[in-house]
Every structure is written in structure tokens, then in C-alpha cells.
Symmetry: C2
Subunit: 428 residues, 2 copies
Amino acid sequence: MKLQPPKGTRDFYPDEMAWRRFLHDAWRRVSVRHGFEEVDGPIFETLDLYRVKSGDGIVSELFHFTDRGDRELAIRPEFTPTLARMVAAKANALPSPIKWFCTPNLCRAEKPQRGRLREFDQWNIDMLGVEGALADVEVIAVAVDLLAELGVGPELVQVRLSHREVVRQILIALSVAEDKIQDAFTLLDAKAKLPAEVFQEKAKALGLGEEQVARFEIMCGQTFRVGQVDYLRQAAGVDSDLSDLVAIDAMLTDFGLAEWCVYDLGIVRGLAYYTGTVFELHVTTGSERALGGGGRYDKLIELFGGPATPAVGFGMGDVVLTNLLQDQKLIPDEVAPRPDAYVFAMTDAGAAKLPGTVAALRRAGLHTRMSYKATRKMAKLMKDAEACRARFAVILDDGVTQGKAAVKDLAAGEQSEVELAKLSQYLR
Amino acid sequence: MKLQPPKGTRDFYPDEMAWRRFLHDAWRRVSVRHGFEEVDGPIFETLDLYRVKSGDGIVSELFHFTDRGDRELAIRPEFTPTLARMVAAKANALPSPIKWFCTPNLCRAEKPQRGRLREFDQWNIDMLGVEGALADVEVIAVAVDLLAELGVGPELVQVRLSHREVVRQILIALSVAEDKIQDAFTLLDAKAKLPAEVFQEKAKALGLGEEQVARFEIMCGQTFRVGQVDYLRQAAGVDSDLSDLVAIDAMLTDFGLAEWCVYDLGIVRGLAYYTGTVFELHVTTGSERALGGGGRYDKLIELFGGPATPAVGFGMGDVVLTNLLQDQKLIPDEVAPRPDAYVFAMTDAGAAKLPGTVAALRRAGLHTRMSYKATRKMAKLMKDAEACRARFAVILDDGVTQGKAAVKDLAAGEQSEVELAKLSQYLR
């Protein structure tokens, strides 16, 4: 009997689950206060749904199967195709803008390694129906607010921003042919992993001269703060239309996000469907994979059969984020719910009243635990009460025959006699 | 492009998801106050894990697949095998008792019909390490408390209780051979769906005479209230050891559950691994499938390679429960989170302050929405504020140049002028 979970998946015992719940609650709380509504879809979809967006290449990365009706199905590797399907299906019936979030578990048939598992949770934020900088920046603001909520500051994580259309224009001005633009994006995306000579060689293969390769390198190698969009124009050395970035720049300042964000035209995002703004969340020390990323995908809903719909969104997984918070000691010690009361009996009369007392407290909505041990040693039982972090110990002894219990406030150390009939009221 | 979710699965748009979240929150709240800790496991397990508990027959009911390493895997159809694996893996390191809950999504390759889908959520409650009536009744108490939490009373749903060992003894006293006991359980389980003659015929095939068949029918056809265990003995017409049921009977009364429970020795539960108490939650009108069920499974942890461990638990799905609550009009009108503020601009100066004002309120933790419309018609915007159920409308007009906004309390209808710097404080 194999007692381990399948390769690349996790068991969540109470300690790990308490953190997972804490993180999901934070994702949800932040999403809701930014006006996003929760949605979800099936754990599996038709395999074709993933082919629409990603082509046949995606299939080897999926856990896929056929049902008895010979339908080809796959466990979801991401939520975006489901979202696009859902929006396309009810496009005319949905309010505008659509502001949706979800926190699905996703599965990918990848080789497990640090920061990457075969099953993980991913927070998704999507805003559809709003063009331009406001929606882009609202979405970035939610991601930043989540980091702040978890104690992460801009000195630790930065949003690295780029814009697909701006980069495309710069590449064209550098004399990259239209039909080589996707290759140039792919090269940009790989740059961090390539030696300089290899990068330069591949850049030349795109049709760039020596000086243009140098300008390409400068463009994607330097970063600029919010407020320095004009400097970017100089560095790129071309006269591009930066109006989208100028609007985003102003909006980032309005939203109070200037210190959290940096422009980095080397950010591409691997996925081909982004059309405008793209961004990734990176640890400033560079020690981890990206915490998450997203961008504008104005063509996707059409691809899934819906009407033309401007859209922007991002995804943030739980694995890299949790690694970062662990390393930074930002995971709170006490993420599990705290009991209101720990109830135990010291006498036979008390023991007879134990189940009824516990049941009544729970019915009154109090988080109540009890001792299942036969022991009646006060010190031992009091230690158990403290170990589970209960606020109060409720001691049932012969006082129950007069309808009374002893109640000890475990923080203050004070003990009182309380009528059983008023116990839940007292503990509140 | 197929825009529907796969057969037997569901899309959760914001309205459906708000209810799903409400239900999950209720499951969690009730579990926690009864002292259960949340756990979870992988969405898929090795196919062998399900074979251990249910044999090869289970495979056709699973969505199963192989990964690139040729491992046979299956999407989880239930949580119990995962739980048994997790407990067996860390048996010596876990505290006793183990009180765990979870709310996984599960998948079964079944024909979808009312109350039964291919993907659904199931609330699981399990208590391990405690023998006897206390644990059995604690687990039943959690299920009942959830019903009460959702506005369901004992007139609508009853816990139908039986005890495998008691039924086994009665069957043996009725001269059913040991090796026919499983067949007798199967017959009992099917009884409700069989015409009386067919039942009698099949009972005779188990080796029962005419009088014994009649006693068998009486035994499993009548129900008894809590406090009437002795009456059950008479009806069964045999001198069985009912001490387990007697203890449960007393404990049900202690926990205040007498009116919620009824003994029904016709309840078997299909699954072969139950060893003692078994129960199901049934709508009293009989109009739905069981809402859930469970029982004692003292041998299961051993079967998965762990130490002998007394265990009792139950599962409750979301589908039948939601159908019932819908029919009974017990689903609250407003299950979605309610915005604190809806912010809009009436002038250009106000519009310039809109993003910053919204961002500041959200950073302060307030659920804040805004208008994305170009309109500056007050009546229209106020209608939008009311439509999203916001507590306050925040109106940004030229007053913002003096650092002020107009705030309307949408319940009271009163409007005040508030300093922007104190807005979040005012709205709290």
C-alpha cells in the first residue's frame, strides 16, 4: 500500500490546511473589496477547449482522458479557457463590466520542482468590458493589495510592467519584419536564460544589424520607474506611440502604486494571446519564479465564439507565494481557528453533564472542544486546554448538581463560577 | 465551439457561486465549532487506492487516466480513501482523537439525473480514535447542527439510524447463515425499490422460513423513536445484544437530538466497510434521495496499512441539499457580499479624484465599487448604487477641490458632506 500522495500533489493535514485556508480567505477578502465577484467552473473541460487557445502542443501538458461516451476531457490546467467559454455563452446576459475572481485548483503534467507542482491553487482576477488604463491598473491594484494584506512590501516584490503593442512598434522600428514579431517575443521571453552571445546571434537572425541589436538589448535590459515613460522612449531610440503607457503611468500614480511598479520591456509573458499591457510579479532578490502575472487579452472572448470584449486579468499561484512567505517568516504562527471553550469533567456528576454542556455551547455558535481522556488530573487537562489555544476552560465538577460550572479565562488566569444556563452568554 | 460545460458538470456564475460559497461557509463554520479541523488531499489519486476499498468494480465509475510515467490515476470519487491513506501514513504522529472535516469536489462517471451530477461538492466529517456512542453521536450532531444552521428542522429532515452489528445478530437469529449476511444486507438496501413479493422471494432464498421472512419484514419496515430501543427488541422478536444502541440512545438524548433521529433497521448503506452504526439523512416527505449518510468504519484504516483505529464519519453532498433548500424556499435572497460604498463622479474635478478615492477606501478594507459609465445623471447612478446593494453612495463633485465628498446612506436616505481624508472612517 503506497501511502504517499501522487507525484507532484500534496496532502493538506490540519496545519498545512489552516495556512491554505488563510491564504484563500485573503485572496477572497481582497477580491471582494475591489468589487470582484466569485465564479468557478468544472474541474475538467473538453480537451478541445484547451486546443482552441493553445493548439495541440498543450495536450502533453494535460492530464486527459475519455469518458464512456468517448468524449475527450482534461483536468483544467488554467481557468482562462473556462472563463472565456462562460463569458461567450452568456455575453449578452452579463452586466458590464464583468469583474470576476476565482481560486481554482489546477493540474499540469509537469516535472515537479521548487515552485512548481502538478496540482496547485491559483487566484484568478479578470475584468472584462473596460478598455484602457483604468482596468489594467485596477487589476494590478488587486494583486498589490493582496501582497500588502500578507505583509509583503514593494521592497520585496515589484510589478514588472510592459506593453505588447509598444514592444511590437519598437521591434518594427528596429526593422524586425511583421512575420518575425512572434519570434522576437519568444527571444525576449527567453533572454534571462540565454548567454549574451546567444541572444545577440538570435537577434541578428531576426534581421537586425549590430546597432539595432544593441538598441534591442538596451530596450529590454533596463528598467524604468513610474513617471519615466519619456526616458523609455529615449532608451528605445525610436519614436513609438506610448500613449497607452502614458495613461497607465498616470493611473498607477492615482492608485498609489508608483513605488510598487517598474517598467521592464523585457517582460513578454509566454502566452501568445496577450494584446496590450503585460506584467509579472517578481521578488526583488530574483530568488524565485514569478509570483504571478497577467495582462490584457482583448481578442480571446472572440476566439471562443463570443463578441469582441476588452479584457484584462492575472493569475497568482499558491506555491511560489507560500515559499516566499515562509522564507520571509511572514506566515503567522496562528492561522487556525481558535476555540472559545475547552470543556472537561472532574467528577462523575460533571462527566454526566459533559455531552449536554458541549452540545449546548456549540448550538449557541461557540467553537467548543472537550477532553476525551479518562483522566481527572486538573493540571493535565488545563494543559490540554492551553495547548489547543482555547480562550476559556470550562470545568464540570459536583457544582453541576447546583447547575454551575467553573470557568477559567486562560489569558487572564481568572476563574469564576458561572450558571450552566448562562454559560454561552458568559463566554461571548 | 461548444459553450456548455461537460455533461454533468456545472458553471458557477456569480449568483450560483454566491450560494455555493454560502453553503461552504456554513459547512466550515459548523465543523469548526464542533472542534473539527480542516484537511484536504489531491484531486486525483492512484487508481489502486480506490481498488483497495471498493475492488475492481469501482473502476468503471471513475474518470481515470495514465500519466506520462504510466501511472494509473483517477479523479477522486470520494474522500474516504484519501483520508484513510493520510491517517495510515502518519498514524503515530497524529493527535488522538483525530477530528477532521473537508469540503472536496468529487467526480463520478455516472448518468446525470436529479440530485446526481458528475461533479459535486461533498462535506466530509470524520472522527477517529474514539470508540462507542460518544463519537457516533458527535458526528450525527454536526450533521444536524448544519441543517439547523440552514433553517431545516426535524419536521423536514430525519436522521434514520441503524447498526450493522445489531442487524447482523438479528439476521443470524432469524437463521440467515454467516455467509449470506452480505446478501441479506444487499437485499435490505434494495428493499424500498422492490415489490413485496420479490422481497419475500429473495428473503426465502437466503434460507428463511415464512414466519422468519415476516419477522424480517417487520424488523426493517418499522421505525422507532429515540427511547424505544426495547420496543425494537420485541419487534425483531429475537434476544439480541442491543447495548451499543442503548448507549447511543442515551447519548442522543444528552445531545438534544432525540426529535431529529429515528431508528430504522432497514438502513444499511451500500458500502461494505461499515462496521457498526450507520445512518442516513432523509427528507420526511421522501421526495429526494438521501441528503447524506455515514457510519462507523472501524476496520478501514487497517485495510490501508495503518494501525487498528476506531472511526466514524459521514458525507453530505451539495446537490440534493441545494434542491431541498430551493424547494423549501430556504435559500436566503442575499447571499453575496454587500458593498460598503458605491462611488461615482458628477463633475470633471470629481472624476479626477475617482480612482484615488476608490483605491484609498479599498486599502482601508472597505468593499468599494465604482461607476464605469460616462453618464453624470444622478438618478441613474443612484439607481446603480442601490442595484448593487451598497450601504453608501459616495458622490464626487466640485466639492473635491475643498477635499469633500457627498455621502448618502442608502438605507436611511440621509446625505452628509464628509472630508475625503476621513471617508473610510466615516463609512465604517
